[in-house]
Symmetry: C2
Subunit: 504 residues, 2 copies
């Protein structure tokens, strides 16, 4: 059986090769879409039938300007589940997922925490899809038109998305006669950034936000551009020094081999690649993808996300490197590690490292990464598990100009949402935000890791990976994870009881 590498990661890499940099390390930048875990779609798509009803809202194209074309509308998808809702007459709460850069069904299926918490609060569940993703496509729902150029893509921005959420929620509450039902926002990764910003910008719409693994400080020079890869390095190094050294040494070995007569064939056999035509760069990207996403989704229980993975997959990768079952050389060890990510089921006979399918509709993140979302993450110090490299903004700008004919606005996010001196700014402003971060997650480097006030609270799990708290619980969840979720529920309970007190 031929197993393809997870589509969008490769698409992403391919786009990044095209757009961002000719060097392999720059490819690592801005892998934001991939930061969201993929469920076992087969099993969840059955479950999801009972999870929600699909609805559409007629949304305004441009909230902030009043040109004739600003008044165009599009159908914005949202999913709703009222199974547990206590109803408008009781002012029962509404839990809203602020959708990120992909199909909302995918996020809904991956945010079990909301489903499991809803009965405790008799909450209505609403998952709103982000404009330009999934089925929420402006310009008549026609992706060919919407994605065609900067004139149409220009309406894809975080501020428009937040205004969409505000508009939709206000209208929904009105239609439900639930104006006094408190709304709590939930989000992970970019969705977590949106949840936090939503509370900060629209406190009249949401009473609180759980922002999980949201690197809102990963802009400009707020966070070191070496942070992301240095956390990945530590993840592997913490398992075994040898594991780290083998991976670190492999890049040169791959490149040296590729240069030799027949070297690519050696590599192809070592990594069981299906196609003959590939470069060392392609192979490195494919391996890097496995390492990065395994670090991000280094969960304590078996999972079925980007790929089916065992519990503690980083540990498993290092075991494969330290105690290889087949062969003893670097490539055999590395192949064993990569196999954990790409072939945990053991069914693959060869790998297609150039697969460019995009099952979750994440492609337009490239546009966002070329306009607002300039997250410097791809620096590598000398001790990085990846080859040393520098974050290169100029290169990003050049490639975005080439791809879309526009320039990024690298200062816009901090202008609009802040970030500098966040502790001082939010110490006496704002309330009711939980910032969850797992320190195994490379994105935690750009997260809020210390509480800012009594109600702007950081929850940090040393053992945690990317928004692990939002996942469905399992019987095998470790104590620390159950504690994190308990704490989050407790804080949300406090917000709600405060809200009801104020209401009364």
């Amino acid at each position: 059986m031929r197993i393809v590498a997870l589509g969008f990661t490769l698409l992403w890499v391919l786009l990044l090769i095209l757009i961002f940099s000719p060097t392999s390390n720059a490819k690592i930048a801005s892998r934001f879409p991939s930061s969201i875990v993929r469920p076992d779609l087969a099993s969840l798509s059955i479950k999801s039938q009972q999870f929600y009803e699909t609805k559409y809202f007629t949304q305004t194209l441009d909230h902030f300007n009043f040109q004739p074309q600003s008044y165009q509308t599009f159908q914005q998808r949202y999913l709703i589940n009222d199974k547990y809702w206590g109803g408008a007459q009781n002012n029962a709460p509404i839990f809203v997922y602020t959708g990120n850069e992909g199909d909302i069904e995918w996020f809904a299926q991956n945010t079990g925490f909301m489903y499991e918490t809803a009965p405790k609060f008799k909450a209505l569940l609403v998952f709103i899809e982000h404009r330009f993703y999934g089925s929420s496509i402006p310009f008549g729902g026609d992706k060919e038109v919407a994605y065609s150029n900067a004139s149409t893509l220009g309406y894809l921005s975080s501020t428009q998305a937040l205004a969409d959420y505000a508009t939709l929620i206000i209208d929904l509450k009105k239609n439900l006669t639930a104006e006094d039902s408190p709304v709590i926002a939930f989000g992970g990764s970019y969705g977590g950034m949106l949840a936090a910003w939503f509370r900060l910008k629209y406190p009249h719409v949401v009473v609180g936000a759980l922002a999980s693994s949201s690197p809102i400080l990963n802009f400009e020079d707020l966070t070191s551009p070496y942070g992301f890869n240095s956390i990945i390095t530590n993840d592997f190094r913490s398992e075994s020094e040898n594991c780290y050294k083998v991976i670190k040494g492999s890049w040169k070995e791959i490149e040296d081999t590729a240069k030799q007569q027949g070297g690519l064939e050696v590599l192809r056999n070592s990594f069981k690649l299906c196609k003959k035509a590939f470069t060392a760069d392609d192979l490195e990207s494919w391996i890097e993808t496995a390492l990065i996403y395994t670090a991000m989704t280094d969960y304590p229980t078996p999972s079925n996300f980007l790929q089916p993975l065992p519990a503690y997959p980083v540990k498993q990768m290092c075991k494969a490197i330290d105690n290889p079952t087949v062969g003893n050389d670097t490539f055999a060890r590395l192949y064993g590690a990569v196999n954990i990510y790409y072939n945990n089921t053991g069914n693959a006979t060869c790998f297609d490292i150039e697969d460019d399918s995009d099952p979750h509709g994440l492609s337009e993140w490239t546009w966002q990464a070329c306009t607002e979302m300039i997250l410097p993450t791809d620096g590598n110090k000398n001790d990085s598990i990846f080859p040393a490299s520098e974050w290169d903004y100029a290169n990003r700008a050049t490639n975005c100009q080439f791809a879309f004919g526009i320039n990024p606005r690298p200062h816009w996010i901090t202008t609009e949402y802040g970030g500098y001196d966040i502790r001082r700014v939010l110490k006496r402003f704002g309330s009711n935000i939980i910032f969850f971060n797992g320190l195994r997650d490379p994105w935690s480097g750009g997260g809020v890791l210390e509480s800012i006030s009594k109600s702007i609270i950081a929850i940090v799990a040393k053992e945690g990976a990317h928004h692990v708290d939002l996942r469905f619980s399992t019987k095998e969840d470790p104590e620390w994870l159950r504690d994190v979720r308990k704490r989050e529920v407790g804080i949300i309970r406090k917000w709600l009881s405060q809200y009801y007190n104020d209401l009364a």
Copy 2:
């Protein structure tokens, strides 16, 4: 000497006749530009030489979208005065006026409170002009282009203006190496709304805001549409019941007279109008303008604003009605009252009620009143000093469609900035805003009149008119006004000392 009626009020009335309603009462709606007092320009223009330096900032046309045209820039004017500034090395504060719908020089000349308070805090003074007004015109500074249609005017919005202010301030502080200097926003009327919203939306840019006479609750059904005119009614009625009755009775008398043979000539002679061609409606608008603006600027000291006025001009108008010097009929009494507003110097020989000059560049408020700024103010109950009438949103919409080919978005302001349940929402969110309102000011009906938290504070002056606190002080200022300013200075001092403590 022929004295013309103050240009923009008439322009406004004319525009409103055209755009908003065929009924005289609808004209009263949205007289927002006029809410800002005009200084004695002759004397202040000399003073202003020493007040500020004029500078320009290259501003982005569209902050929220990323279309090719979004990247266009324009020159945004700001005025700066560093005479009192303690400098970046001392992190001395920056006082910013968030410019409203007109020439920024006019606002700068009329916000003496900032000049007089700056030395106390060693503050830098900055007055930023609102896009599409004064010299801050997009599309190459060409008003003919910028004002030509909805495609260009479409970029005139409050959200874009706030983003302008954030962008400019961040850049200015960087250029001054004053990143740690705290910024306080000041504004009156629409500028006060912008100041309050600026603190709420950009807490990372401003540490506090003095929002004077800012009717942020004058949207949708948050405030009664009868409130505005009912305050004007009370202003006159509180001076004398007879005064109120004479004015209230005059509308029918004017209309009845106009219908009679030779009646317009009677009216022309009674009110000393220069031109023969006018309607009863024109005359009524002209009188209404005088009544409304006199109520708004009912200051306790002589002033030179929209027109030169004596201290307590409403009282003076009622004196003219109650104790007429020439003639005893309704028209003679009313003429005496109107004369207080249009001819306080006594030099006018006749009045041009159709003057449409716009010395302060306020015309584009009409666009704002047709898009976001739907402030329902022109209802009149049976006991109103003006004829009974209803707020008519449909009529506004029709006329805006006719004028610009676009529809208003009457729910947008509350969606973006909130308003409903403001006490509950801001009780636990946000900080450091002063809402000043004078209860003689018809706009106070849409203001925040009760403190919301320890640091979101309402200051209400029973005797106060439209942003009287922001005016230059005089030796004749009553005790209550001096107290208001003292309180404001004290609160700002607290914000700043808290900021410096947090910084240290």
